[in-house]
């Protein structure tokens, strides 16, 4: 029987594990779960891990992995070695009964979602971590530990733990700014407001690219995925890239000058107007 091979790393995605089990059933594939966590700890050389994994793919029809930094290096290398199609950072997966995988991901920077099919015998995809909900009661095949790998072509000399990025993914309230904030000074003001109401500061990719906010604040497909109780989007137009990172929020408030900004279609509450005036009003009221 052909396999659906799920590769987990040091940051396993249990929601993806659940999704993989569903996909395997529908696509009539055998689910196999392989963890490369030990290999990741043993070597910093992702190319050696990818090379070693080739031998594990003989029966694979589908190979999935969470889109962590390291698996996003390992999977492309494996895909090249298998000459298999690979879709990056998917936010949706479906499968036909014949095992054809349909992969959905935001595309081309504006409001577009692309559905992608793979033409090679092996179909590969990395999946945005946290995209699918986990099921603590789910039953899965035992995870195989894979560690058949040693290389010092890339060596880790030092590792410094960083806690800075945790703030945004665990915050109850996030105040997020976009290009509409207009300046770094504007962001300072937004940050002060965020602190005042006990919120973490987020940013859209445009705002980060413009240098208004640090990358660690970026919410969206190439930044953090967040699911706070309240997400306040200020001066954010609502590109798919951004929406993919915050659609899990319980309540979304949008503040934007442009009544036609897509963000309003993805918000529960909205105010159309100048963000600074509105934030000033809110500061007085709170």
């Amino acid at each position: 029987m052909q396999e659906l091979l799920l590769i987990q790393g040091t940051r396993p995605d249990m929601g993806l594990q659940r999704k993989a089990a569903q996909l395997a059933e529908t696509g009539k594939l055998q689910l196999r779960i392989l963890s490369v966590a030990k290999a990741e700890a043993a070597t910093a050389d992702d190319s050696a891990i990818a090379k070693g994994l080739v031998a594990e793919t003989n029966n694979a029809r589908v190979i999935l992995a969470p889109a962590t930094v390291r698996l996003r290096c390992i999977m492309p290398m494996l895909a090249y070695r298998l000459q298999a199609g690979l879709t990056a950072d998917c936010t949706g997966l479906e499968i036909t009964e014949t095992g054809q995988l349909l992969q959905t991901r935001p595309a081309f920077g504006n409001s577009l979602m692309a559905t992608i099919e793979t033409l090679s015998a092996v179909q590969m995809a990395t999946v945005r971590p946290g995209t699918f909900p986990a099921d603590p009661n789910g039953e899965y095949p035992q995870t195989e530990e894979w560690e058949a790998c040693f290389s010092d072509a890339v060596k880790c000399i030092e590792q410094q733990r960083q806690t800075g990025d945790q703030g945004i993914t665990q915050a109850k309230i996030i105040v997020s700014g976009g290009a509409g904030i207009g300046s770094k000074e504007g962001f300072d003001k937004l940050k002060a407001f965020a602190h005042k109401i006990g919120a973490a500061l987020g940013a859209s990719r445009n705002a980060v690219d413009l240098g208004y906010a640090p990358y660690s604040a970026q919410v969206g497909i190439t930044g953090a995925t967040v699911s706070p109780r309240l997400y306040i989007a200020v001066g954010i137009s609502g590109a798919v890239q951004h929406l993919a990172g915050m659609s899990g929020a319980e309540t979304v408030i949008a503040i934007n000058q442009d009544p036609k900004a897509p963000i309003f279609q993805y918000a529960d509450y909205g105010i159309v107007g100048d963000w600074e005036t509105i934030i000033n009003q809110l500061e007085e009221l709170l």
Partner: protein, 252 residues
């Protein structure tokens, strides 16, 4: 170090880009800019340059990118090679990496290949790894602070919850994060020297590829459908600051 190769992509400058009937980017209709992360790759390459080092920039894309690439000479880049051919258009990351690897093989011996970690348009971030696999050399992705080390390079790798200091053997591929370096400005001397230099344009045939290996034909992924709406639509009630205040207080 003999030769350092920096891979750059020219991406559409406009936020809104048009797609053709096969969901490919219409690259002819928009103006181009250098991909932001690739600016760091070029600067890091120039920073590592020694007296006998050649810095080569390799790019793939439409011929109209030539003018933008020409400007890189004024910064101290020694050679610019643009892979440009109708046959190369519409490539997914696998076919792109195959073409870039074929291009690299035409450039002669090299110490390292530096890339941006992802492109602003398609954002797959898969090229650095796939290029390294095609050339069978190690790669480090998400890099910052590249320096010369005893037997190769040292750099920092940004992981989700940690920053690692790594050493990597040569030859290798390193992909760099946006803003890890600020690209230098051209000097007057640089501008003068740039006048005598020309971007070399190579076709698929020049780098030894046949049509089946390139572009849309050589790709293993296919966009079958495009939706203009993201999931997660909500019904928006428009309100005043007073009402918002109540909602915020309710969560606090």
């Amino acid at each position: 170090m003999k030769q350092i190769i920096a891979c750059v992509k020219l991406v559409p400058a406009a936020a809104e880009v048009a797609l053709d009937g096969q969901f490919r980017l219409k690259r002819d209709s928009t103006s181009l800019q250098l991909n932001i992360a690739d600016l760091s790759a070029v600067e890091a390459a120039l920073g590592l340059k020694e007296a006998d080092t050649q810095v080569t920039v390799l790019s793939m894309g439409p011929a109209k990118g030539e003018a933008l690439l020409q400007e890189l000479f004024a910064l101290g880049v020694d050679r610019v090679v643009l892979l440009s051919d109708r046959a190369l258009a519409g490539a997914d990351s696998l076919a792109t990496a195959r073409a870039l690897a074929a291009g690299v093989r035409c450039l002669g011996e090299f110490s390292c290949i530096l890339c941006g970690r992802r492109a602003l348009d398609a954002e797959t971030g898969q090229i650095p790894g796939q290029l390294a696999a095609a050339l069978d050399i190690p790669a480090v992705t998400n890099g910052q602070q590249l320096e010369k080390a005893d037997n190769g390079l040292s750099c920092r790798r940004l992981l989700e919850t940690a920053v690692e200091t790594l050493t990597v053997e040569l030859p290798c591929v390193v992909s760099l994060c946006e803003y890890s370096y600020t690209l230098r400005l051209p000097s007057i001397l640089g501008r003068r020297r740039a006048k005598d230099k020309q971007v070399e344009i190579l076709t698929a045939a020049d780098i030894g590829l046949v049509a089946e290996q390139c572009g849309l034909q050589g790709s293993k992924t296919k966009v079958v459908h495009v939706d203009t709406k993201a999931p997660g639509l909500r019904k928006c009630s428009y309100c005043n600051p007073e009402a918002l205040c109540g909602i915020i207080k309710g969560v606090q």
